[in-house]
Symmetry: C2
Amino acid sequence: MPVSASGKLLTIGEVARRTGLAVSAIRYYDDEGLVSARRTSGGRRMFIRSDIRRLSFILIAQQMGFSLEEIRAQLKELPLERTPTKRDWERISRGFRAQLDARIGMLERLRDRLDGCIGCGCLSLQTCKLYNPDDRAARTGTGPRLVVQQSIERVED
Amino acid sequence: MPVSASGKLLTIGEVARRTGLAVSAIRYYDDEGLVSARRTSGGRRMFIRSDIRRLSFILIAQQMGFSLEEIRAQLKELPLERTPTKRDWERISRGFRAQLDARIGMLERLRDRLDGCIGCGCLSLQTCKLYNPDDRAARTGTGPRLVVQQSIERVED
DNA sequence: TTACTTTCTCAAGTAAACTTGAGATCAAGA
DNA sequence: TCTTGATCTCAAGTTTACTTGAGAAAGTAA
């Protein structure tokens, strides 16, 4: 029986209630292509049930420090129109998990360095290696854009 | 011998070179009170050497996901005018380290849940408990402001 | 059909953390 | 002293991730 792959459709209000997201946020995600709602003849957004999971994923990923841009990249792996299968989610989960591990690892390295660094009161750029470009590249959101430098001078005190 | 506690003063350009920060960022931090530069008679900012460490701290803390507001709170513990002692830095380091541990712990909990959650394809708000308010409160930077809800409904698929 | 709630679009506002640009001064070396 | 290069201030612009408001349709219950 060719039942629609989506089943019952949900209004934006229902989705908002179920995800805890503001209606305006959901609209924003739709505009940004993070979800893609269908429209009624009257132009109102209608969501398929799996969009709730999609939105939940966005919420979780954001809490982990991913930007919407990064999340968008992850979600590219999921089908938009049909309900994603377990396998779809598993695939996306692997990449996600890997990035999460990397993020945790970075914080742990930072913490370990901190122990032998701020703790001792040195905090010298040269000595501490807290300025590892790799870690720096992993920045989240806003923050100072570092000036390109040939060499970092020594800080004596 | 009453040698000035600060020793040689540095221009904003020197500080920029040594920290890797943009001059404009340092000015901004000065305006925001995260460092407090002295001024020459001509009005130019002059920094004491320990300001470099102060700025380094800001940089590191930002990479860990702290906002300038949070960093400002941490730095309140440090003396502005005299060079902080090792003990000053140790004190601030303890609180910092604690917050860092909390942040790592949160990510690890998130990861563990993810393994039994996205991995299995459920991602249900009710079941996953990924929506723990505690973790949510630990948010960094921007993101969706969640609507206040009495109860989160069940997501079936 | 009337009334009322929900949703729509579009423009503008918000917050954080800076950057950019203009026009003016300061400071140091030749 | 002259001439650069470094700084200064102040206003405005930038990015991300939304929120808010206005005015107008779409749905829905009675």
